[in-house]
């Protein structure tokens, strides 16, 4: 077998050193009833590289590739062009095949890249410190809620109706077992400000509230100033958690940290990491320096070596499970290191100038797309301000329309029926996302497909 270097002669020699006559003797601790005499039944035997490639390529061909059709999906996963050098660099074996940097003297590459990542994330979010990544945006959101509980010692959590419903479900799942009291509502398709419940949130923040969680831009693409909410939360001793699912948006929009958010978390996938049918992605997590000892996850920090040279190490690990065990701030161990590296390389290539251009181009394509769809009879654009994602109300169930457009070879958006299956009032909502990858031809194809689907 091509991945196993030991020869039969090696195995014989090694068994002799070990003092065993066969490899079976090494498994004698296994209760006899549980020892399998031969290979597990019901699975095929080994295969050549070529055969495996054939089999998996066949499965891959059964999917519609986003890059091969007019494509307008977002809602927490965004399609951007990732420069070729990013994927090349993360495949260098020294990055790809290294471990969590427990031995810093021979892991400075990973550690310095993580330090750059933390700095970039903190600046993008407008916060003082960031960690070395979490699994994804949805779990980062839960970790932020959990951190707010540790800081405030309160259990009432107010979730904005504009928060991604999967993120809400993750929080609901964890709260069920942790005793948090979640307050949440379904978003409303309010013209001009879909999903904006800022006024309602201001009213429910009280002295029992641990945190308020808002998404920016929200699940329906709406953007709004977080300043008043931050001030109200803080006046009641609560924290404002802002969730950003599209990092590119912050190349155009003011950061949540700048507007007063105490914890900013989000999905980093939009930079450096492809769609990949939902994972692996990379969770971003940033906050104020005074809360650093309550943060979850790994942190890379600067120090010096025995010669006085600057170097980097994992630090403040007394927060973590391998030291603190049941008293740790989180159970997370492995995070999303390689995706964090891809994020960092992509953002380094962009730089501030490139990120701003990228964001401007995303916004412009979205505006053009919105203008085209607004001309389709019966379709109403709901958003006032938005970045690269907006919501339209259709004259019929958007799930059916999405399917009809897919049959015409256009992936035309995410129906709210897919995200909120039990909310009849949202069934006609369609969330449409554009990016720098969107061409004028794509926009026209979407407009035409929508017209045909509604005809």
């Amino acid at each position: 077998m091509r991945y196993l270097p030991l020869t039969e002669a090696d195995r014989g020699f090694m068994l002799a050193r070990v003092g065993a006559s066969s490899v079976d003797e090494l498994f004698t601790d296994v209760p006899e009833a549980a020892r399998l005499a031969g290979p597990v039944e019901g699975l095929p035997c080994h295969a050549s590289e070529l055969a495996v490639e054939r089999q998996l390529s066949m499965l891959a061909r059964r999917n519609t590739v986003a890059g091969e059709v007019p494509f307008f999906l977002g809602c927490g996963a965004y399609r951007h062009h990732v420069p070729a050098s990013v994927d090349h660099l993360i495949q260098r074996g020294e990055f790809l095949t290294s471990y969590t940097p427990y031995q810093p003297e021979i892991a400075q590459g990973t550690l310095q890249a993580l330090f750059e990542f933390q700095t970039q994330v903190a600046r993008l979010y407008g916060c003082e410190v960031a960690n070395a990544s979490l699994y994804d945006g949805s779990t980062a959101c839960w970790e932020a809620i959990s951190m707010a509980r540790r800081i405030t010692r309160r259990k009432k959590v107010v979730l904005s109706a504009g928060l991604h419903p999967h993120y809400v479900e993750v929080a609901r799942t964890m709260a069920r077992f942790n005793g948090e009291k979640l307050e949440t509502a379904l978003p409303e398709l309010t013209p001009g400000a879909p999903g904006d419940d800022g006024a309602a949130l201001l009213d429910v923040i009280d002295s029992e509230t641990s945190c308020v969680v808002v998404q920016y831009p929200n699940i329906l693409g709406h953007v709004f100033d977080l300043g008043e909410l931050a001030a109200r939360a803080q006046s009641k001793g609560a924290l404002l958690i802002a969730v950003v699912t599209e990092p590119v948006a912050l190349g155009a929009l003011r950061s949540p940290g700048e507007m007063g958010a105490d914890i900013v978390v989000g999905e980093g996938q939009g930079l450096g990491v492809g769609l990949q049918f939902g994972g692996p992605y990379v969770g971003l997590f940033a906050t104020r320096e005074k809360y650093v000892r309550q943060m979850p996850g790994r942190l890379a920090g600067e120090t010096v070596d025995a010669e006085g040279k600057r170097g980097f190490v994992l630090t403040l690990s007394t927060r973590e499970q391998h030291i603190r065990r049941e008293k740790a701030t989180s159970n997370i161990c492995t995070n999303s290191g390689l995706c964090a590296l891809a994020f960092t390389i992509h953002l380094s290539l962009l730089g501030e100038a490139g990120l701003r251009k990228l964001a401007a181009l995303n916004h412009a394509r979205a505006v053009q797309t919105a203008e085209r769809l607004a001309r389709v009879p019966g379709v109403k654009l709901l958003n006032g301000p938005f970045f690269n994602e907006f919501t339209v109300r259709l004259p019929k169930d958007a799930r059916l329309v999405v399917r009809a457009m897919a049959e015409r070879g256009v992936l035309g958006g995410v129906s709210l029926g897919r995200l909120y299956p039990r909310a009849d009032g949202l069934a006609r909502g369609l969330v449409v996302t554009a990016s720098e990858t969107t061409t004028p031809e794509d926009v026209e194809a979407l407009g035409t497909a929508l017209e045909e689907a509604l005809a």
Binding site: L59, R62, T64, S98, Q112, L349
Partner: protein
């Protein structure tokens, strides 16, 4: 001491001399060992390495929320970026460079076929919310990996969404808690052996359980008597790592399962070490109710300098109804995704909830699938056998120089455990680890498990040749001898690495977690 912005000392300094007394260089570089500044220390303002299409003229709809202040993100052109990150990469050790015997972490070869398969556009460029009929191949792939996991473990069902091992533990314990609550018997305590990974007690606490420790026997196994004595109506579950973190199979596993079940509890198995028994033992035959599988350990997906991982959880029949959403189901010839909308219709109303947005680590599933299909059922059995044989070979090749606390109790599984007994006064496991760095090896796992003093946990894996194992054994023998005889030069190791020993105390006492320009206040101010 003054340093220039590139992290090197700004003038020649006696301490900066190469270990053989060679003079310092002007750059601070040592031939192929190249120093590299942070991107923030270069003049990257206004620079970008990405060109864009022309910006169309549109009326902005940002609602007055436009960014006004600079963000502070330097840019690199493509050649600079390639060089910067290539230089950084060369300061890292990886399994591609040499043996990486990090016990319990399983650093085995990462086949490049896996990478190629994960990058097929049909897997890599597919959105998680595309209409189901446009992602039939992706769902089939998830179903395929799930089928292999269920079959290899002899379990009943699988949850594919957990993002890593610890997330899988959380998933397993939440299913256990949901099952107990469903029968009106919430319970409050989870028992964890003292040799367990730190994630076990952390996870149990995260699920709202009180955690109690179970002692180990002299032989490094769970003390069955002590466990039985503690079982009772308050014990929700026992978390057992098998093979355990001492590198030993728990021979009482079936008896443990029976005792726990009799007392009304459930058995969680930490499957971090499943690679030692894959193809030879099915955990379902041992009475396990839930077990996570680290795809990066058993099924060769790369560790990537700390993730991404992937931690699918297999369930017994008792727990299957409580598995989280979403999951893939085959209906006739068509695959469907069972989500919140359809769970009740699919007879899965008991799902305890959702672990994450979307469907799990697809990019890891494709890699694991390539590995599973490559090895097949026969090859995976050989994987376990070679991993265990290699670990025993290391154990028996070193037990005359290093104390192996459990070597008397028979063969080990996939990893060999040694202690620091017999080292000279003032010499520790840390010194041996740093000495190994100079010998060109990544050190073993240090000071874990906690039940052995100065633990050194060595996992060679099945992808090392005998020649590589022999060289590693020779190097470790040499370093161990130096620790035993008190060779003071060992205290200075490593001397050949990109950095000497780093001051971790300083890093924790005065945390510097982001770069700040010397002249500027904090970015957020």
């Amino acid at each position: 001491m003054s340093m220039n912005t590139q992290g090197r000392i700004s003038r020649p300094h006696p301490d900066n001399d190469a270990p053989d007394g060679a003079p310092a260089t002007f750059t601070g570089n040592r031939a192929l060992m190249l120093e590299e500044p942070l991107i923030f220390e270069r003049d990257g303002e206004g620079v970008t390495g990405v060109d864009f299409d022309e910006l169309p003229e549109v009326t902005s709809c940002l609602g007055g929320l436009e960014r006004r202040r600079p963000i502070g993100l330097p840019g690199l052109t493509e050649p600079e970026a390639v060089r910067h990150y290539t230089r950084l990469s060369r300061q890292n050790y990886g399994i591609d460079l040499g043996l990486f015997p990090l016990g319990s972490c399983t650093m085995k070869h990462n086949p490049r076929l896996n990478e190629r398969m994960a990058r097929l556009p049909g897997f890599a460029d597919v959105h998680p919310l595309q209409p189901i009929d446009t992602v039939q191949g992706a769902l089939a792939l998830i179903d395929l990996v799930g089928h292999w996991l269920v079959t290899l473990t002899g379990m009943h069902a699988v949850a594919m969404s957990p993002k890593a091992g610890a997330h899988g533990e959380l998933c397993g314990l939440l299913a256990i808690r949901a099952a107990l609550e469903a029968r009106g018997d919430a319970r409050s305590v989870v028992l964890v052996p003292e040799s367990a990974h730190g994630t076990n007690p952390a996870t149990a606490a995260f699920c709202g359980y009180a955690v109690e420790s179970i002692p180990a026997t002299q032989g490094g196994r769970v003390d069955l008597g002590a466990l039985k004595a503690r079982l009772g109506p308050d014990v929700a579950a026992v978390m057992i790592t098998n093979p355990n973190t001492c590198g030993l199979f728990e021979p009482d596993m079936i008896a443990i399962g029976e005792a726990v079940h009799t007392a009304g509890g459930l058995v969680y198995c930490d499957g971090a070490n499943f690679n030692a028994i894959v193809g030879r033992v099915r955990p379902g035959d041992l009475g396990v109710d839930a077990m996570h599988i680290n795809l990066h350990k058993t099924f060769s997906t790369p560790h990537g300098g700390g993730g991404p991982g992937s931690g699918p959880v297999v369930f017994s029949e008792a727990l299957a109804p409580f598995a989280p959403l979403p999951f893939v189901e085959k209906q006739g010839e068509r695959f469907v995704l069972v989500e919140e909308e359809t769970a009740a219709q699919a007879g899965h109303g008991g799902a305890f909830g959702r672990m994450t947005a979307f469907h799990g680590q697809m990019g890891m599933f494709t890699r694991a699938a390539a590995y599973m299909l490559s090895h097949g059922a026969d090859g995976l059995r050989q994987v376990a056998e070679d991993a265990v044989l290699s670990a025993n070979y290391v154990l028996r090749s070193l037990e005359d120089v290093l104390e192996a606390p459990f070597a008397g109790s028979g063969p080990c599984m996939h990893e060999a455990l040694f202690s620091d007994a017999g080292f000279a006064e003032g010499f520790s496991t840390l010194d041996v680890a740093k000495g190994l760095i100079d010998e060109g090896f990544h050190p073993m796992t240090m000071y874990f498990p906690l039940v052995v003093h100065g633990a050194m946990l060595i996992e060679p894996t099945e992808t090392e040749s005998k020649a590589a194992l022999d060289q590693f054994v020779g190097a470790l023998r040499s370093v161990a001898e130096r620790a035993k005889t008190g060779d003071s030069a060992l205290k200075a190791a490593p001397v050949y690495a990109p950095r000497r020993r780093l001051d971790e105390t300083l890093a924790a006492r005065k945390p510097v977690l982001t770069y700040r320009e010397p002249s500027l206040p904090a970015a957020a101010e």
